[in-house]
Amino acid sequence: MATIAHTEHVRDQSDPIVKIVELRKSFGDFEVLKSVNLDVYPGQVVVILGRSGSGKSTMLRCINHLEKPSGGAVLVNGEVVGYRLKGEKLHELRPNEIARQRATTGMVFQSFNLFPHLTVLENLLEAPCRVLRRSPHEVRDEAMKLLTSVGLAEKANVYPSTLSGGQQQRVAIARALVMKPSVMLFDEPTSALDPELVGEVLEVMKELARSGMTMIVVTHEIGFARGVADEVVFMAEGRVAEQGPPSQVIDNPQAEATKTFLRSLNERRDTPVQ
């Protein structure tokens, strides 16, 4: 609690965009997140690695309050997500206030989750026009620019079901970006894709990282982590086991959990495909 109060009054350029403090989350008796602390600074690309079940996705989903933390707090742009600090206690926000907070973070899901009843362009227009109440005319130009940048301008007027997985995921990235979020959250964005489609999505993400977007990426793509991440966070058993630049965490891991994980990834890669 003291940490939160501290960040409330010291704010300058070097303040983290996302600050995770003593975050805990349990599903019933199962404690997924035991205690997570993490700071993400403007323009940083943070890649989260870890076995399935280590709490990576849950942590990511706590950042935009899709999961309600059991303890601790997440701050985005210095504002506590899902709560208001009043006196000594954190008071739960109303659903509408939480919705307003979520508009500042963009999220890309493993299963794309495009709206199937809307065309590609309508998928992009929906949130800016409804949530931010911006004029469709203005947003349409921005949306088309974004679609062009992900290479899908010619698909603007088709329904998502006609697109490949890779194309759908690129639309999903554009849909999140059109809200002009201050941070982008990626939850295993390439895990549901056929191998030959992974590259096109990673390419868009690399371009986004180059443009200076703050990104938190949960992925198993070690190559992406090595090439693009400023910081790699390795999670194990609901905690941050190791953290640092990719050259350190991936090439010279210290924690036992990280070593085992990387070794198992290498073994899998070395096994010849039949």
């Binding site: 919705a99 899901f109 299963s111 009843h117 309508e122 088709v158």
Partner: protein, 337 residues
């Protein structure tokens, strides 16, 4: 070449694989021939038989004097019949509208996190689906025997604010409309609930992650997708309601059927009047079916296997075309450059 291969084949090739290949080459000439489709003799026989039955039926309908076609024609546009048809349509539209609204509320209760709401809605469904509509109508008609006065006031026997004698509050029309609606709402609740549950949870999450509040996410994302599942069975229910509304004849509301009954109990022209009634019911259900198909196509947009080209969003060509944002590629590429 072919024959030489076939001759040498037994000595040279002991393995099965090779013999199979040579058999294939030998057959190639045969395989290239025209195919003859299988004849379905059973189907032909059945079709001929059914055609004979239908023709005989049609013949009897024309020649059998008991159909009394002139009488049918006489009553087809009879004022009382027309008035009855009007009442049937009003009953269907109004009670169905009430049932849909009530059904959505009940579905919301069933899906809410509140255990009391869930239980009350569950009990409601249990009762109204578990007893026949006919009994519910007669019951409501005789409610005054149970509660002579109806009104709103302080619960548990406190003073009444407004109210009146049950027979005055519940007119014939009120009994019929409320009775049909209460019964139907139980079915609509399950249809709506099924539709809402058919939309994957991911869609709610995606809407939430974009900052949409609950109302927006429901109205713009969840409901339009749920309607694809809700609309077809609702169409069936409307068609069903058109016919079940004839049950109000037991409480003497002169709907289409009861109007005909009132005539034929006096004139004994039972068959022709039942034909008249059937004709109007069939005409109405046919029109409703046509509507249903159009609406289903509209809500099926974007689903694989259905129309995937946008812009066909009009129901029966009526009303406003769906608001659609057209973007010409040339204009945006021009801006890029």
């Amino acid at each position: 070449m072919e024959s030489a291969k076939a001759k040498t084949h037994p000595q040279h090739t002991p393995s099965n694989a090779v013999s199979a290949t040579s058999a294939l080459t030998a057959d190639q000439e045969t395989l290239a021939r025209e195919t003859v489709p299988l004849r379905h003799h059973g189907r032909t026989v059945a079709a001929v038989f059914l055609l004979l039955v239908v023709a005989n039926l049609a013949h009897s309908m024309v020649t059998n004097q008991n159909f009394q076609w002139p009488t049918v024609w006489h009553y087809l546009f009879f004022p009382e019949i027309m008035a009855g048809l009007g009442r049937t349509l009003i009953l269907t539209v109004v009670s169905m509208t009430m049932a849909i609204v009530l059904g959505i509320l009940l579905a919301a209760c069933r899906l809410s996190g509140n255990k009391v709401l869930q239980a009350v809605a569950g009990a409601y469904l249990w009762f109204f689906r578990g007893t026949p509509l006919l009994i519910q109508l007669i019951f409501l008609y005789n409610l005054s025997a149970l509660y002579p006065r109806l009104g709103i006031g302080v619960p548990f026997g406190g003073p009444e604010l407004i109210g009146g004698s049950t027979n005055l509050v519940l007119s014939l029309w009120t009994v019929a409309l409320v009775g049909l609606a209460l019964h139907e709402s139980a079915y609509m609740a399950e249809i709506v609930r099924g539709g809402l549950l058919s939309v994957p949870k991911h869609q709610t999450e995606a809407a939430a992650a974009l900052g949409m509040n609950n109302v927006m996410a429901f109205g713009r994302i969840i409901l339009p997708q749920a309607l694809r599942v809700i609309v077809p069975p609702t169409g069936n229910q409307v068609i069903g309601m058109l016919k079940y509304s004839s049950l109000v004849s037991v409480i003497a509301l002169p709907d289409l059927l009861y109007s005909a009954q009132m005539i034929y109990t006096q004139t004994f022209e039972t068959i022709p009047l039942l034909i008249v009634v059937s004709f109007w019911y069939l005409l109405c259900t046919s029109i409703l079916t046509l509507f249903q198909q159009r609406i289903e196509r509209y809500y099926g947009r974007g689903v694989a296997g259905q129309s995937t080209t946008p812009g066909r969003g009009r129901i029966l060509g009526l009303g406003m075309p769906r608001k659609r944002v057209r973007t010409t590629l040339s204009s945006t590429t021009a801006e890029e450059g």
